[in-house]
C-alpha cells in the first residue's frame, strides 16, 4: 500500500469539502461584499436534519440517503434566507460596514445552541449510503464515500457554473457580482439576488454537511472547525475565484492529512493556519483573487 497516495486521496476528499464551503462564502461575498460566518452551522444543520431523515435518532428512517439530499438542500436554502433576512439585510440597510460580522456570528451561535437542545451534544455516527469497505485505487485504500464526496463536490460546482453561464438568472447573479449599481439599471432586483446568494451559500454548506457526515462524526459542534477552515481556504484561494477555492481546499486538505500522519494528528490544523498567515502577508487577495474594486 502506498501511504502517500493514501494520504493525498483522503486529503483531496477533505479538501473538496472545504472547497464547497468556501464556494458558499464566495457566493455571498460576490453579490453583497458580506460573508455568513455561520457557514459552519449551516453545514451542521444540513448534516443533522439529514441524519434525522435517514437515521434512527428521530424515530426514522423516513427517507433513504438519495431522497434525503434534495430535502436537505431545500431546508438549507431556507435557512440561508433566514440568515440574510435577520442578520445581513438590517446591517446593509443602515450601511453598517461591519455589523453583519457580529450578526452572522451571533445567529450561528444561536443555531448551534438550538441544535444542541434538539439533538444533544454528543457526536453520533451517520449511516453511509455507500459500502464501507475500502476500494483499491493506485495502491491506496479509499472509502467509496470519499470518492462520493469528490464527485458530489465537483457536480455541485459544475452545476453552479453552468447556472451562472447559461441561464438568465445566473447571468443576473454574475452581473450583480461585477457591478451592483449597473445591474440595478438593467432591471435586476439586486436585493433579491443577494438573498438568493445567501440561500445558495447555505445550500452548498448543507450539501457539504450531508456529504461529509458519513465519513466523520455528526454532531451539533461539527460545523465550527469546518467553517473556520473553509474560511481559511476562501482567503487562501481568493474570495473571488472558484478555481482558487478548489486549489486552496486541496492544498489545505492534503497538508492536513500528511501533517497528521508524518508529524502528529495534534498538529494537523497547524499547516492550514500557517498558510493562511503567509498568504495574508504575501498575497492579501489570495492566490487567485483580484483586488475588490470599490464602487458606489
Amino acid at each position: 500500500m502506498n501511504i502517500l497516495t493514501q494520504l493525498v486521496l483522503s486529503g483531496m476528499a477533505l479538501g473538496m469539502i472545504y472547497a464547497v464551503i468556501a464556494f458558499g462564502y464566495q457566493s455571498t461575498f460576490a453579490t453583497s461584499g458580506t460573508l455568513n460566518f455561520g457557514q459552519g452551522e449551516a453545514l451542521m444543520l444540513g448534516a443533522m436534519t439529514g441524519l434525522s431523515l435517514t437515521g434512527e435518532i428521530m424515530g426514522g428512517p423516513y427517507l433513504n440517503y438519495w431522497l434525503m439530499v434534495p430535502v436537505v438542500l431545500v431546508i438549507g436554502s431556507l435557512q440561508g434566507l433566514v440568515v440574510e433576512f435577520l442578520a445581513v439585510r438590517p446591517a446593509l440597510r443602515i450601511h453598517s460596514e461591519f455589523g453583519w460580522i457580529m450578526s452572522t456570528i451571533a445567529l450561528g451561535i444561536i443555531f448551534r445552541n438550538v441544535a444542541e437542545n434538539v439533538w444533544g451534544r454528543d457526536d453520533v455516527p451517520f449511516p453511509s449510503p455507500l459500502p464501507t469497505t475500502p476500494v483499491h485505487i493506485l495502491g491506496a485504500n479509499i472509502l467509496p464515500m470519499e470518492l462520493g464526496v469528490m464527485v458530489g463536490a465537483l457536480l455541485l460546482m459544475g452545476l453552479m457554473e453552468l447556472f451562472n453561464r447559461r441561464t438568465l438568472y445566473g447571468k443576473a447573479v454574475v452581473a450583480t457580482s461585477s457591478d451592483r449599481g449597473a445591474a440595478g439599471l438593467m432591471g435586476i432586483d439586486t436585493r433579491a439576488v443577494i438573498a438568493f446568494s445567501y440561500a445558495l451559500s447555505s445550500l452548498t454548506a448543507a450539501f457539504a454537511g450531508v456529504l461529509i457526515a458519513p465519513i466523520t462524526l455528526t454532531g451539533a459542534s461539527m460545523g465550527s472547525v469546518l467553517g473556520l477552515k473553509a474560511f481559511a481556504v476562501a482567503i487562501i484561494g481568493g474570495l473571488t475565484s472558484g478555481m482558487g477555492a478548489v486549489v486552496g481546499g486541496l492544498i489545505l486538505g492534503i497538508a492536513e492529512t500528511t501533517t497528521g500522519f508524518y508529524f502528529s494528528t495534534g498538529y494537523k490544523d497547524v499547516p492550514g493556519l500557517i498558510l493562511l498567515l503567509l498568504i495574508l502577508a504575501w498575497k492579501p487577495n489570495g492566490l487567485f483573487g483580484r483586488a475588490a474594486v470599490q464602487k458606489f
Binding site: L168, K171, A172, V174, A175, S178, D179, G181, A182, A183, G184, L185, M186, G187, I188, D189, T190, R191, F296
Partner: protein, 240 residues
C-alpha cells in the same frame, strides 16, 4: 414623457442637487450641460434610482417613479447608460445585451416582451463592431466599443426614455463623431432622450432643447438654437 420637479439629492450628508426641474417631451432630445461637478450625473442617478432623492418628484409618462429602486425604474421603462459605461466586463458582449433586455425576458414580463430578437439585430446593425465581437468578453473591448455596448445595452430595454451620461467621454475625435451620428439616428427613430454632455457644441447641435446646470441648480434653459446663440453659454461652454 419625463418630468422632474424640485429634485434634491446627494451623497450621505452632502447635498448636491438643490431643486432641479426639467422636462423631456416625448420624442425629443433634451441636453443637460454644465461644468464638471455641476451635478449632471447626480441628476441622472437620482432619476434612475441609483441614489435616492431627498425631495422633489420624478414622473415617467405621468407615473410617479420618485425614489423607486433602480430595477423598478427600469421596469417602468427608463434606461440609463451611466457615466463610465459600467458594462459587465466578465460577461460576453452578447450577455451584456441580453441583460439589457432582462425586464423583458424574466418570468412575469415586468416589461412587454415585444420583438427581442429583432431589437437585438437592430442593436447590432446600429453598432456593427459589436456584431463582430459578440462572443468576446466585454472587458476586452476598446473604450469606444465599450461605450457602444453601454448604449446598445440600454436600448435593449426598448425604453420610453433613454438617459445618456457623457457617451463621448474619453473617446478619440472620430469615435465622438460616430457616437453623435448614432444619437442623431436614434433621434430620427423617435427615441426620447436626456443627453448629458461635456461637448456642449455637439450636444446642442443634436438636441431640441437644453438646460444649463451650475452647482446643483439649473441656471439657464432654452431651445438648442437659443442656447447656441447665448453669449453666456458661448463663453462658458462653447469655447468661443
Amino acid at each position: 414623457m419625463l418630468e422632474i420637479e424640485g429634485l434634491e439629492a446627494g451623497y450621505g450628508p452632502v447635498r448636491v442637487l438643490h431643486g432641479i426641474s426639467l422636462k423631456v417631451p416625448k420624442g425629443r432630445v433634451v441636453t443637460l450641460i454644465g461644468a464638471n461637478g455641476a451635478g449632471k450625473s447626480t441628476t441622472l442617478r437620482a432619476v434612475s434610482g441609483m441614489i435616492q432623492p431627498t425631495a422633489g418628484q420624478v414622473r415617467l409618462a405621468g407615473k410617479n417613479i420618485t425614489g423607486l429602486p433602480a430595477h423598478r425604474v427600469a421596469q417602468a421603462g427608463l434606461a440609463h447608460s451611466p457615466e463610465g459605461r459600467r458594462i459587465f466586463p466578465n460577461q460576453s458582449v452578447r450577455d451584456n445585451l441580453i441583460l439589457g433586455a432582462y425586464t423583458r425576458l424574466t418570468f412575469g414580463h415586468s416589461r412587454p416582451r415585444g420583438d427581442i430578437s429583432g431589437d437585438f439585430e437592430r442593436a447590432l446593425d446600429l453598432f456593427p463592431r459589436l456584431r463582430e465581437r459578440q462572443y468576446q468578453l466585454a472587458g476586452t473591448l476598446s473604450g469606444g466599443e465599450q461605450q457602444m455596448l453601454a448604449m446598445a445595452r440600454a436600448l435593449m430595454l426598448n425604453p420610453d426614455v433613454l438617459l445618456l451620461d457623457e457617451p463621448s467621454l474619453g473617446l478619440a475625435p472620430v469615435l465622438v463623431e460616430e457616437v453623435f451620428h448614432i444619437i442623431r439616428r436614434l433621434k430620427s427613430e423617435g427615441i426620447t432622450m436626456l443627453l448629458v454632455e461635456q461637448f456642449a457644441h455637439a450636444a446642442l447641435a443634436v438636441a431640441d432643447y437644453g438646460f444649463v446646470m451650475e452647482n446643483g441648480r439649473i441656471v439657464l434653459e432654452g431651445s438648442a438654437t437659443e442656447l447656441q446663440r447665448d453669449e453666456q453659454v458661448k463663453s462658458a461652454y462653447l469655447g468661443h
